[in-house]
Subunit: 225 residues, 2 copies
Amino acid sequence: MPRGHKKAATREETEQTRITILRTAEQLFMEYGYRAVSTRQIADACGLTQPALYHHFADKQDLYVEVLKENIAQTQAALERIVRRNETLQERLQIVVRYLFKSTQYDHALMMHDIQHELEPQTRLMLHELFHRGLISPIASVFEQGLHDGQLKAPQQGGMDAISASYLLMSMLSRFLVQSPPVYGAQVSANGQEAAAALTGNAFFTDVGRAEAIVQILLHGLAVK
Amino acid sequence: MPRGHKKAATREETEQTRITILRTAEQLFMEYGYRAVSTRQIADACGLTQPALYHHFADKQDLYVEVLKENIAQTQAALERIVRRNETLQERLQIVVRYLFKSTQYDHALMMHDIQHELEPQTRLMLHELFHRGLISPIASVFEQGLHDGQLKAPQQGGMDAISASYLLMSMLSRFLVQSPPVYGAQVSANGQEAAAALTGNAFFTDVGRAEAIVQILLHGLAVK
DNA sequence: CCTACCGATCGGTAGG
DNA sequence: CCTACCGATCGGTAGG
């Protein structure tokens, strides 16, 4: 049954608008946090009025939950691909870390804080499980395999179970770890990343260098053997 | 010149009120974040009206900055004491981590996010330097010593400079790492910590166990040698 | 998807 | 340190 006589939005246009809102909201929520982002900010950035958002999402929390669902689903798909590759344990972990650095310029700790403190209890539980299944479990499967292979130490030998190792790896990706070098003293002159890399004598301040350093230390530690 | 004729607050009472406000605000800000805590919440928790806060602090940001200053100063004092002890590198790091776990039930990543996004640029810079001098530098001095001793790998040998290692250690303390085990499946029955510890076969889910595990892995890694 | 508008809450001020 | 109150902004709704 055709009905394009006025200028009502087609189903496709509506879907496009929904996607625009989701992507815009994702960027804002992930950078500033749930509470700090207003529905008007999101609407403005999409070129809409604020009430228009409520045509696509029931309320602010619903929009946030949809953002997280899409974000986690996408990350999960990528991680499961990486995890099944035929490469060494160390190489797969480095690819995982590089992916997480590249895909998310934000801090998972902020996301977890919002889930814990800004949402209703039942939503909180659901997202926690989603996070666990989507991000933690795929990474844990890599560690699990290393434990079975005998490449990784068991908990009793100074190692760690696979789930805990996955959470630990995630926490090592926290942005505040290194986002800090604007000025400590006053001796940093020009480009922050390169200057810092030169000062410290390694490539820790580039994304790839950071990914390699983190995995290197998680596996082999800082101590001389 | 005496003047106690009415019932004006003495200087001592005023100071006590200020301390009460600071401690109350610290708990709230550190748990929920700067923006999520209203000045009325703080005042209520202190048994005051909201405008009364403005007798002790210029505005909300000023109160937050004072909270951070006191918090960092106290942590700095404790860390500098620990760092000068006559114990092994590993023992000192474990004491540092245990102290940070015990003293701050919150997440430094949240604090850094608030500093980055909720404050004026000049305040942000000042607090960043305070954080660096108060928390990072003391910890870095431990790593620095280990590097000089030859106990720790240099950056060129798969190690890390002292400052980067300190940020990495701080990020490994992130609460979201492990605060998560409410329910994943439904098989966790009674006490979360103990049940999880039993399941995983180590003491990672107690504070002391976590501190030891983190330092163990930071120094020696997860891989079998 | 818009205009118009709601009650609630925010940080902060006036004045005593 | 209180009462009373301000303008701004919040999430969300009515009605078309």
